[in-house]
Amino acid sequence: MDTVYHSIIEALIFSSDEPIPSKMLIDAIKGLDGSDIAITTEDIEESVDSLNKRYDSESRSFSIVRLAGGYVFATKPEYAKYLGYLATEKSKRRLSAAALETLAIIAYKQPITKPEIESIRGVNSDSIIATLLEKTLVTITGRAEKIGRPLLYGTTDEFLKYFGLNKLSDLPKPREIEEILNDEDFIEQKRKLLMSEIEENIEKDIESGAGESQNQ
């Protein structure tokens, strides 16, 4: 096998969605360069071994490993602490889907109590609310005038800043989102309505031979 295929195999393993099996590597190469190219599973193995040797001698921080019947890149264990640090920092920084959901409920329904949030989400939300409080995206705004006087939650100025809003009423209305996103029927209806209106006007224009200034 031509050594030019080392790099191609490397690129394929690098960009694959899943650990990539030898067969797929061979398919891709034969699919493009012709099925008559002699390339076997053993060639792939040798190629990977030779790549790994290069990585070692060049002290790369990654290498190719075999996993689940395929090949995949892996960073070397000695760097794990740095990557772990980054992962931890990232998860601290990024809002989870659950947190975002809770934040959205609080933003749109505020002021709202914990039991109300939980009845909307259908799950206990203690720790998520705690996280949002810690990140100062929500705050306690008072107590509800009902039995047990539960705490009321609302969003903070930090929340507005984070989402680039001047005030709470700047939040996109659920109706607007619906309109923008998947309400194809709505858009179609609106268009038909507009069409017939415009057509009527034009017909009038044509009949009278002169366009009145409807556009100005």
Binding site: V72, F73, Y79, G84, R149, K192, M195, G211
Partner: protein, 237 residues
């Protein structure tokens, strides 16, 4: 045949630019009459073929007809005494549109270029979990802090007047069980969330003592919660 041709146009402005380029028209001197009749031919076709954009084409047709009429009338004069060309607004719209159409062609090249690039997808690494260290977690947490939070909770509960005197059956044992039960479903709990539903002062006090007892037994850890007058309890295995 026409449909295929029509789909090449993004909208009425695009179609007008096509006429202008094809006939090598001076964009500042568009023969409105000629272009309008040609435009209308397309509109008639589009009305039956492609409902999606027909409305916008019809709107442009009416704009063109309006300009045509204004061209026949005596010219309007602007505040500087200059004649207003009824086509001027359309021309500036066409030019503005043309700018972005050009830019989108540049972007199409960038897109094609970037489509040749692939990113690393799946990969493996062994994350090193950083075990929470008690020294770190309990740093700056003193008994004073505990007491302060506790006092705050008690004070927050004050507004509820109790008119009835009744015996409240509660023991430290009960409250240890209570805390344990709560901790079964959560690895961490905010102190406030444990005592939030407790209304009786005596039960609060007993719960707090139970909590201190559990810390002493080494079954419970405590750390301060940032930005909030509260603390977090967690199980020690």
């Amino acid at each position: 045949m026409y449909k295929i041709k029509l789909e090449l146009f993004e909208g009425p402005l695009d179609l007008l630019l096509f006429f202008i380029k094809r006939d090598e028209i001076d964009i500042y001197d568009i023969p409105i009459s000629k272009i309008t009749s040609e435009f209308l031919e397309y509109v008639n076709l589009i009305k039956y073929l492609d409902l999606e954009i027909a409305g916008d084409f019809i709107l442009m047709a009416s704009t063109l007809m309006h300009i045509k009429v204004r061209l026949l009338l005596p010219r309007e004069i602007d505040e500087r005494g200059e004649e207003i060309d009824p086509r001027a607004e359309l021309v500036s719209r066409l030019l503005e549109y043309k700018r972005f159409k050009e830019m989108s062609e540049d972007m199409s090249i960038l897109e094609a270029n970037q489509r040749k690039v692939f990113f690393r997808n799946n990969y493996l690494y062994d994350p090193v979990e950083r075990p929470p260290e008690l020294e770190t977690l309990l740093r700056n947490v003193s008994v004073y802090d505990l007491a302060k939070v506790f006092k705050k909770v008690i004070e927050n509960n004050k507004p509820i007047p109790v008119h009835e005197i009744k015996k409240i059956p509660v023991s430290i044992e009960d409250q240890i069980n209570f805390i344990n039960t709560r901790l079964e479903s959560h690895s961490e709990l905010h102190f406030l969330s444990i005592v939030d539903d407790i209304r009786e002062k005596i039960r609060l006090v007993v719960t707090f003592i139970a909590l201190l007892e559990m810390v002493k037994m080494g079954r419970l850890g405590i750390r301060i919660s940032e930005n909030f007058n509260d603390f977090i309890l967690y199980k020690i295995q």
